[in-house]
């Protein structure tokens, strides 16, 4: 029974994704179901902000997580996310063929927003699968390609995990940057890193950059079917829809990166430790985001499955991802919220060298940021 409960609690996103697909297929105002569910999750997350609990382990220290079940679910999310796109494409097709007779524009907009928000959650599976097993890595790339972000899988493993907390890591947001700027810098930086990896590999092998083993190019080619589907479904409408979906889903991805390491500092060459990440581990965030909020443990034990990650008493925002995400959307509010945590980090976690770097950052910050600090 305990095994069942521990494993079933990670099914929130799969179930809600299926409900979102159902809403889009039903049409009418049901197309807004995905948006409504996202709102409900936000309310639950805020309501459970003070409930924190460790991952569950049996008395002998083993986890209740069942690897084959969890992997089965994660692999199944690929067809679920494909079905989400197909459902939306079908509504767009109906709209473009019969205009507003069959589908009201407002409801089509609801379907696009619903699809975008839940497609954005592909990151939690794309992330977990990037770390374990060769097949998982490939499925991760396919899931991320549905959001036009297949480069993420390589950049996350080879760049983010190695360079975390340092300026060489585009996914670590430096102090003073807002989430909107970070979304752009991080996305482009990771794609650039993946490009450089492939160009370096091609050079070492004395091949042209345009070769059949170029994972940067192949990754983007994986996104072509999505593009073709939406162009077929609605021409310019379809292109607009997929741009909105990719924009929102990549923004969610980068918002997670932003929240996970904002303002934390690591000296180059020094090991990654718990203090180089922020944990978000209230109960709803932990279950909904399949423990991706246990960043402190994850970055030190990158090989560990999500259901085995634990509370390591690292830096902790004390609130869940949904709540924190709302703060990030209003940069002055986020800066005010996070400054207290950064000061605490500087005083209680940072080494002398890290404190020195933090001081330099503040001294070099532009006046606008300084006045907000």
């Amino acid at each position: 029974m305990r095994t069942f409960a521990v494993n079933a609690r990670y099914l929130i996103v799969p179930i809600m994704s299926l409900l979102t697909i159902g809403g889009i297929l039903l049409g009418g105002s049901y197309t807004w179901l995905g948006v409504a569910l996202f709102g409900v999750c936000t309310v639950i997350d805020i309501g459970t902000r003070n409930i924190h609990r460790r991952a569950d382990f049996a008395s002998d220290g083993t986890s209740y997580g069942v690897k084959r079940f969890q992997y089965g679910v994660m692999y199944m999310m690929l067809p679920v996310f494909i079905a989400l796109q197909l459902a939306l494409a079908w509504q767009i097709r109906k709209y473009s063929v019969s205009a507003s007779e069959a589908v009201a524009l407002s409801n089509l907009f609801g379907a696009i927003l619903s699809a975008a928000l839940w497609a954005g959650l592909g990151i939690i599976y794309g992330h977990e699968l990037s770390h374990n097993r060769r097949e998982g890595f490939f499925v991760s790339r396919l899931i991320m390609a549905l959001s036009g972000a297949s480069h993420f899988t390589y950049a996350h493993v080879y760049n983010h995990h190695l360079d975390l907390g340092h300026e060489n890591d585009p996914a670590t947001a430096p102090r003073g940057r807002n989430v909107y700027a970070h979304a752009w810098h991080s996305h482009m930086g990771q794609s650039h890193y993946s490009f450089d990896m492939e160009s370096g590999k091609a050079k070492r092998r004395q091949k042209s950059f345009m070769n059949f083993d170029n994972r940067w190019i192949i990754g983007y080619l994986f996104s072509l079917p999505t593009l073709v589907l939406f162009i077929w479904a609605g021409g310019l409408w379809g292109v607009a829809a997929i741009l909105i979906i990719w924009g929102i889903s990549n923004f969610l991805l980068e918002a997670l990166n932003f929240m996970g390491h904002y303002g934390l500092i690591r000296e180059e060459g020094k090991p990654v430790e718990h203090r180089h990440s922020w944990d978000n581990d209230n109960i709803f965030t932990s279950w909904f985001f399949i423990e991706i909020g246990r960043q402190c443990d994850h970055h030190v034990r990158g090989e560990t499955y999500f259901w085995e990650l634990d509370d390591v008493k690292g830096p902790n925002y004390g609130v869940g991802y949904f709540e924190l995400f709302l703060y990030t959307l209003i940069p002055p509010l986020f800066r005010k919220f996070v400054q207290v945590h950064l000061d605490h980090w500087d005083q209680n976690y940072a080494t002398e060298a890290e404190k020195k770097i933090a001081k330099e950052i503040y001294l070099n910050a532009n006046p606008k940021i300084q006045s907000a600090l």
Partner: protein, 105 residues
Amino acid sequence: MLNVFKKVVPTQIAKLEPFGVEIAIEKGERLLSAALRQGLDWPHRCKVGSCGTCKAVLISGEIKSQLDFAYVLTDKEIDEGYILACQSMLKSDISVRVVQRKEMK
């Protein structure tokens, strides 16, 4: 109910040179994780296959790599049998030479 998804996991053996030590690797476990679990001080840093600190030379036996080694190891190293222990699962019993810290550049 979910116990049907669990299967009995046989172990395989990795012989570590130059120490002559043998360690047991459970199915699905990586070489580095098994070594650390059994108290060995195997050099490592990222554990996700990006830093190259855990590299070793495969002397005999077969492994299944979980990640492409080509971004971290050179073609020459790969030809010489270098592997990344944190990204290696065993297909058979193996023998490996651990690259010790003093050998690293």
